[in-house]
Symmetry: C2
Subunit: 322 residues, 2 copies
Amino acid sequence: MDEFSFIKSIKPKTWHQPTLVKGIGDDAAVFRHMTKNVVTAVDTFVENVHFSQHTMTLFQVGYRALAANISDLAAMGASPAFYLASVVVPNSLSMPNLHKIFSGMNAIAQTYNMDLIGGDMVAGESLTLSITVIGFVDEEKARYRNMARDGDIVFVTGTLGDAQAGYHILTHDGDYKNKSYYIHRHRMPTPRVDFARALSHLDRIALNDVSDGLANEAAEIVEASGVDICLYADNIPVSPSFSQFSSALQRKWKLFGGEDFELLGTVAADKWPDIEAAAETTNTSVTEIGRVMRCENETGRVYLYENAQKKILNKDGYTHFK
Amino acid sequence: MDEFSFIKSIKPKTWHQPTLVKGIGDDAAVFRHMTKNVVTAVDTFVENVHFSQHTMTLFQVGYRALAANISDLAAMGASPAFYLASVVVPNSLSMPNLHKIFSGMNAIAQTYNMDLIGGDMVAGESLTLSITVIGFVDEEKARYRNMARDGDIVFVTGTLGDAQAGYHILTHDGDYKNKSYYIHRHRMPTPRVDFARALSHLDRIALNDVSDGLANEAAEIVEASGVDICLYADNIPVSPSFSQFSSALQRKWKLFGGEDFELLGTVAADKWPDIEAAAETTNTSVTEIGRVMRCENETGRVYLYENAQKKILNKDGYTHFK
């Protein structure tokens, strides 16, 4: 099967999005204007840098790559609508295997009624996925990281560190509790689209998705909003069986781990009942983990209360721009 | 300079597009709805597959990559507005060199008042640019390749084969006429945005950009429109000094060469004066090179009249999906 035939084989036969005018099959895709704003982001994943076929099937590689991008839309409060997938295909990857990647993307796309509307497929040495997502959000309702204010409650959805634990389990032999749970969290994360959408009535809320670790995401919020954030280490939610890992690993994964694709947010204290209501409606756990404070220095800082001490929490790990 | 600082250094300080709500600096970019349709496409370029630092500077690599994407918007009749740039950065590429790529993209972006609104930067072995472009077009005015009709005049802008000639000159020592002209056409092509926009009053016109060669682009039109196209080999426009190359090379480059980023179009014969007027207004040369005919077989074919013979012109070279 040549590339031309492959493209035909992955071209969707039906479309979900009513705004779509022209999908795959011309120089570009076209969609209609709406009364909403358009939200777009791109993320790139390189084999043996961002994923490995030793720890994931190709179906999961595709699923997770698109999930990570959808998570960016969730963190903007947007509804996913479209995606474009660009793939660098090494000679070693057969067409059936390439199909598996697209099947994985398609599986999570279906969940959100997203349409594949374009892409590119080129030869190269390293399998590389570059995915552009497009969504819609009501005017004035995009959730920026510069919207944290003094006195806000800081919260996070779900549990942190699970994805890193899953990766650890896959790469370190051993007896582990809830093995398949952690592995699933690493391979097939759930972006928190529904939860963020359930908060669309709020006038103000800051949101970031935890792609690069809690410390890094909190740092982005303080920097953009010009505030300080205090986090309470003991309140950071982890899975019940997380205690099976060493204290050092637990701390590393929950603070710096990332790739859980949970949402970190800040909201006015009097709107906390709205957060709890959205959590219940969408079956999402939400935990208060800190407070936003007036900025003490020139630039915002993240502090961590841990073992009765207040520490400066520096961001760690890699960063990437959006 | 770490990646975080690099991103800050390339983040535009001002924006051109009035529809932009949020550019770089959050989970995703946001732009406002308009009364127009949104057009989007992505293209990926891998070092030593799609470009080489032996024949181009990094500034030119960036310039040309974005030019190729803008050409897709031109072929849709759209006005360029935004781009997102995702880069796989090998260890061997220094931050100043990465800056050169972004400077090249910025140079052509400025020409069209395009704003850089997002991207991603990741580690990897091969320097890879994946660019997503977004533009606007009036409702019902996107120029699809399925819009060719029996009796249409087939035309092309500019001259074909120049980019391939430029690449040949760069990779084969020798004495050449108009050397810098051909090399410039290879390194810094001009997408035909202005010409396509000058035709926005027409109800119907089919357009494709000549990225993969005339034969391939014509094949896409006949397939999408269910028509045949007859091309006249002698009418295909080439540069005056093109005759310095062998007949075989001339034929190969003008029919299959691609990467000239000219526009191939078909339009009703009675609208030909409109094409000529747009050509004059935008200082673009346009040449009639054939006719659209009723489809003789089940699927459309491209025929070439050459040396008093009618041949089937098969597409050649690589293809990529949009």
